[in-house]
């Protein structure tokens, strides 16, 4: 009897959950159906399906957003930033974990403490400094992402190193490998799970970042969020076009999520809990 009751409750909860999930998705539904409408169609009503589907909004938004170019810029900047964050943070995490001295502890502490500093507190001098060095460009931006992304990444690598026995390094050194060979051939492959986490966590914020690129990049090198901002400014109140642009901008993220949802959720969980 009690079991039946519990089963029924779970069933009811599941229905509630599904309804809630649909509600959660409704903003995307509204975005997509209205992106297929004409300006007039949106005026007639925003809740239902369009009376006649039009693809014209998507074609226009795709051209206006220079989407392939913005996508290329986003992929290039995010990709290179992730590569150097993974390489340099794992090296640092390894060195700091294997050196047990007080100095090493202090350096580690500084990296962790730096996570307390909000971006807006360093933004103004940072942009001034890079401006004077003529580094307000994609290369400068990638270097900035290393600076902002390395703290959490080092923290995660440092934690993961405790699970890797020091006898592995010692064996490699005795066999005549130098420190870098030891790291690269023995340690780095073992850190692969945490590298996936680091890559995911940094991709999420770098891909979506708007403020820093808006201060650093010119419009010609705009990433997707930056281009989206200009585009939206041009087409305020022309919702049919704006919504088509937003839909296009989201598609790469949805594709990525579709293929890597388990890794993404696990990675986020790991990054937050530590």
């Amino acid at each position: 009897m009690a079991k039946d009751n519990e089963k029924r409750n779970t069933r009811l909860l599941e229905i509630f959950g599904i309804l809630l999930a649909l509600l959660w998705l409704s903003p995307f539904y509204l975005m997509i159906v209205n992106a297929f409408k004409t300006k007039r169609g949106i005026f007639e009503g925003v809740l239902g399906f369009p009376s006649a589907f039009t693809f014209e909004n998507f074609v226009n938004a795709f051209i206006e957003l220079e989407f392939l170019k913005s996508l290329f810029n986003s992929v290039l900047i995010t990709g290179l930033s992730i590569l150097i964050i993974i390489l340099f943070s794992s090296m640092a995490g390894y060195a700091l974990a294997r050196n047990k001295s007080k100095l090493s502890g202090v350096i580690f502490f500084i990296f962790v403490a730096a996570m307390l500093i909000p971006f807006q507190s360093v933004m103004i001098p940072l942009v001034a400094l890079f401006g004077q060095a003529q580094m307000l460009n994609a290369a400068g931006l990638i270097f900035m992402y290393l600076g902002f992304g390395c703290s959490l990444s080092i923290f995660l690598y440092h934690g993961a190193m405790t699970g890797i026995s020091q006898s592995l390094d010692e064996a490699a050194i005795i066999d005549g490998a130098n420190r870098f060979q030891t790291f690269w051939h023995i340690i780095f492959p073992l850190l692969k799970p945490i590298s996936v986490t680091v890559a995911i966590l940094n991709t999420i914020w770098i891909w979506n970042d708007y403020l820093l690129p808006s201060l650093v990049l010119s419009e010609a090198n705009a990433t997707i969020p930056l281009k989206m901002f200009y585009f939206f400014g041009q087409y305020t109140k022309q919702w049919h076009l704006a919504l088509a642009g937003l839909t296009i901008a989201i598609i790469p993220v949805i594709i990525g999520y579709f293929f890597a949802q388990k890794q993404i959720i696990d990675g986020v969980s790991e990054g937050a809990v530590k």
Binding site: L13, G45, M123, I124, W239
Partner: protein
């Protein structure tokens, strides 16, 4: 690896340069500049606390601080209630568990800028349409007043980030031993008692993590603010982060903006440290 060894320093050089040039040096420079009349290029005069005295007398800045605090308090509460609620929901024995997790988490992957634009459409056009159909007056004119702008920002943020907080609570809930739950059922505890006496104390550490995260996230929000309300009407929904950006890059008052940025840092740091300290203490007590 020894301190003196070359390899130790070689391994650390790239990140020391990165953090040093990007965070530490600008942070220290910024602190000094906030006491000068720096204009972004040169600082001619040391003016002491003048910037700081001015900012506490500036209505726009103080308003943005109050607005941000109100926003943070409401958002932190909602996010933790939603996050824990969703986590309890999707850790039940259901077939659609994974699908629900995927859906609830999805908004986190999309940038605040894009989501803010989507919700601008919802609050303005969709709400307007629904008001026309149902006759609910309260759905008209969203984002055109301070109040609806405030709740618009809260709804957007809660919707976007609840899935993230859910993931954190799930991680802790899944660590609650099944035997404990079974034992409490046999002892006749109902769902409410089970939650209060068994599950809650075991997921207490999750509160440390998620309170800390949600509080600092809601203090630092910028993109959503920019794309949803753009600070309007009349800068009344402008949060601190946006206020600083505007003072610096629209008004070109670099040193003054930097003094606001220093205050902003102090607020965020104090909250974060208090939170960590308080929660660590409570965890031990439990």
């Amino acid at each position: 690896m020894k301190n003196r060894s070359l390899s130790f320093w070689l391994f650390l050089t790239p990140v020391i340069l990165g953090l040093g040039i990007v965070v530490v040096i600008p942070f220290i420079y910024g602190f000094f500049y906030s006491f000068t009349d720096w204009n972004g290029i040169t600082a001619n005069n040391f003016i002491g606390f003048e910037n700081y005295i001015n900012l506490f007398q500036e209505d726009e800045f103080m308003n943005s601080i109050w607005f941000t605090i109100k926003f943070a308090v409401v958002t932190v509460l909602l996010l933790n209630v939603f996050g824990l609620g969703l986590a309890l929901l999707v850790t039940r024995n259901m077939k659609t568990n994974n699908l629900m997790r995927t859906i609830f988490f999805m908004p986190n992957l999309i940038g605040g800028l894009i989501l803010g634009f989507i919700w601008q459409f919802i609050f303005v056009s969709v709400f307007g349409d629904v008001a026309g159909i149902t006759g609910i007056e309260g759905l008209n004119g969203w984002l055109s007043t301070t109040n609806t702008g405030f709740w618009g920002l809260v709804i957007l943020t809660a919707w976007q980030m609840a899935g993230y907080i859910m993931i954190i609570y799930i991680a802790y809930l899944e660590n609650v031993p099944k035997e404990l739950i079974e034992a409490s059922k046999i002892d006749g505890a109902n769902a409410m008692q089970r939650f209060k006496n068994v599950i809650f104390p075991l997921v207490a550490p999750a509160f440390t993590v998620s309170m800390f995260l949600t509080l600092s996230m809601s203090f630092k929000i910028y993109d959503q603010n920019l794309s949803l309300t753009n600070g309007g009407p009349f800068n009344s929904t402008q949060m601190v982060a946006m206020e600083i950006v505007r003072t610096a890059f629209s008004d070109n008052q670099m040193a003054y903006a930097q003094s606001k940025a220093v205050i902003f840092f102090l607020i965020v740091a104090v909250i974060a440290l208090t939170q960590v300290y308080y929660n660590k203490k409570r965890e031990v007590d439990v």
